[in-house]
Symmetry: C3
Subunit: 354 residues, 3 copies
């Protein structure tokens, strides 16, 4: 049970100042979206354009910006004013989020743990999980039910692998990594040598996958092992559901990839990029740091200037693409104008002027 | 073993009239596509444009429209004439479909069922399935092998979860819901608060997923839990394979979503919509009832008029998009015309007329 | 441990001639990419445009084309010259690829094998795998941990099913087939009969899936069973991750399908086609042999001429599509020209000439 004063103290660990308007003694039972929040609940407004919701909000506590135009608390609602209300609300959510129990502490009786595997302290291994030969699992890591680690997988400290994840042999995962259900890490890269008769010989995929610290990977995503060397997802990257990352890719630090994007083999993506849903990349490209790629873009060449926004199929800088889209929307008008010019020329030739 | 007369009786439960042409005593052993069907088999023709196949069809029984131009049965083939032959054939298929055994009755010895879980009557739990604390499973529901329900999952009556499904904690599923293998319901929404140094803080995903009655969900689809509140798939919706439904979406009743479509966070889709394969939606949009969205469309704004057909990237009403596509196909002709006008003007200026 | 002479002997099983330049007695410890390879390692150069890397390469052995401009081996590096260095290197990779252990020989104690299932010689069944009633598994086949075969599944000789694969009842798989984790074969086709009230009746999916010899299927792919009859993936086809193949499709021999492509129901694709990532097909189309389809293409009609390259949305022959893309890029110039013509006409009418 938390009072508004307790929440103020929590936020003071992260922000200065934290200004309270209203009664700090009110008990807060949980968070809610601003349109749903009622008495006893906390919500937030981070953006000026939502200030209009402040009047009608029924929450007992609202977290707002230092400059937000709030009252004096006399209507029974309280406010906590901070520099970054969005992040402040995230800290409040973390406080209220119930513990999610993915697997009971220790090794479930039905799990299969190879005798050569090494487990750290306070590890949880769920029912029917399979931990292969020579795997190592760091302290405080949770392996969900029915998750399979093939042999020689290394997982760091404080990780969570949800149920039904698969890590192929040799996968290396850092600390505090989260992997959601159904995701497959380290399956073979898609490599075949064409033969004269039209058939293919499989190219052995001898490399591995390395996932660095603080990465989160969504559900049913696939990250293929390298042909030789490593496929790397760098520290802090966030990858959504149903994403394809092919062999030998490198995804930069703190880069965010939305659902159903597909990255072909050997693509190198820089740091702090934003990649929209269903975007697709041809193979062997380089994308500079802080590139922002629109949803559904088809990237067919490298973009090496940092900080560009790109869009379209084939993708080009946002300004060029938006201009082109406007030109296409203007095609009807252009055609009319050409018809009109044709009529005028005809009139000139017929001596009628126009 | 069914005779044509038995099939007539079956269809009379659903249609009036059901007219028999030919011999009702013939035994029918199973259904087949019209081009494959042979003696002893039943097939159907629902559409006038396939009437031309009627002559050559080898099936012993054909289900056709009341108005279909069929013979008198003297060639040994029989006909059942009904108002909706397609649906009638579906009822026949249901009769012939063998029982699919997903899990043996009762709880498999190798399944893990938490002591606080409550199972209804006639429940089947497959090998190595995991049923978490405080789950409830309704009467006649089948949970396939290796499927995992985390804690506090509620599943209604008459559901089928195929092997390898994952339901995260708090998922609520109605009655008669079918979920195919590899699908993940309730994984975390993709929400992160950006920090000044370019890194991200995870936003706790405290909401849940609610799947209403009579929904069917294909294989390897992902439906994320809400950040706060619920992601909802309404009664009767049908969702294909590899579809992404993000946090806080609402999919309306009887809406159909084809494979690999991606719905971003907080999108609200109306009732009886049809969404084509690989279509993608930006976040926070509203789509009106009975909207029809073409495959590969990229929906970047709300469409609030019911019953529209939309298409393209960015998507626009079908008529506008088709006109635009025609204008693009006409670009070569437009360019030629402009070149010709340029030549005429040059001729005028040179005093040659044209 | 292999010497260069051993590698020469290996390659002579496949190529004539194999020419050695340099010292055949050097021991080779493993393969590497040309830019990473160091002393004791083998790499290759297959393409003239990479000949510039030959000078700086640190590998002890390079496999190159018969015509490659290499030295005399006096700098301590050796060369093996063959007609197809790329395929030759694949054979070397196969030699060095470590054995991947997916499941221990025999049937794991925790696996569930139905009493009516029949296993060939030298079969491995992993932990917690489930083999349903009347399944047959051929000699030397490996079934990974947590993989589920429902009833009546037939799998040939020398196959590998990685962990967490699901095969629905009736699936038939040939010899030497590889299926990666998370893939679902034989789930219900997406078929529903619309009713007057806007709801749908499920069409029973009574067909099966047949995967022929030498097919490889990536991770988290879905291949649906036929409504009636069979969905077929023909001999030697290679299918990447997250691909959707709908009910009643036929994928031709040695056809390659890249990640996230989606094939709608009843599409027939010919032999030796190449299908790019995120391409999508409308239902009931036919695609001729050796068709090459660009990434992200949207195929809305059949292409029955063999060997075409097609691209775009809607897809058209490559030449037409590239011309159209050039016309779109030229729209700004076209608009400027029209404006200029308008000014000239105005000048003519004002009697100023131009």
């Amino acid at each position: 049970m938390m009072t508004i004063q307790d929440i103020k103290s929590l936020l003071e660990q992260f922000f200065h100042p934290v200004e309270l308007v209203g009664d700090g003694g009110v008990v807060i039972t949980g968070p809610a979206k601003i349109e749903d929040a009622g008495s006893g609940q906390v919500s937030f407004v981070a953006n000026e354009k939502y200030y209009r919701f402040l009047g009608d909000a029924k929450a007992s506590l609202l977290i707002v910006h230092l400059d937000a135009p709030v009252g004096d608390g006399s209507d029974g609602r309280s406010f906590l004013k901070v520099k970054d209300p969005y992040t402040a609300f995230v800290f409040v959510l973390q406080k209220f989020a119930g513990e999610r129990r993915i697997a009971a502490p220790g090794v479930a009786a039905s799990a299969s743990v190879a005798p050569t595997a090494r487990l750290g302290r306070n590890v949880s291994i769920g029912e029917h999980a399979v931990i292969g030969e020579r795997c190592t699992i760091g302290d405080d890591t949770v392996i969900g039910p029915n998750t399979v680690l093939m042999h020689d997988v290394k997982i760091g400290n404080g990780c969570v692998l949800y149920p039904q994840v698969t890590c192929y042999d040799g996968t290396v995962i850092g600390d505090r990594v989260i992997v959601h259900s159904g995701t497959v890490i380290g399956a073979d890269g898609f490599g075949f040598a064409p033969q004269k008769d039209g058939s293919y010989i499989k190219i052995p995929q001898m490399g591995t996958v390395q996932i660095e610290d603080d990465v989160e990977i969504g559900a049913n995503t696939t990250i293929d092992r390298a042909t030789m060397g490593k496929t790397v997802v760098c520290k802090g990257a966030k990858i959504d559901n149903l994403v394809q990352i092919a062999h030998n890719c490198r995804i930069g630090e703190d880069t965010v990839i939305a659902s159903q994007a597909g990255i072909s083999g050997s693509v190198k993506i820089g740091r702090q990029c934003l990649i929209g849903g269903q975007a697709g990349f041809a193979g062997h490209l380089e994308i500079a740091d802080r590139t922002s790629i629109a949803a559904k873009a088809g990237i067919s060449k490298s973009f090496t200037e940092p900080g560009l926004a790109i869009r379209g199929v084939p993708a080009q800088p946002m300004r060029d693409q938006l201009r082109q889209e406007a030109q296409i929307r203007g095609l009807g008008a252009l055609k009319e104008k050409v018809d009109e010019l044709e009529a005028r020329i005809k009139a000139i030739l017929e001596g009628r002027g126009a």
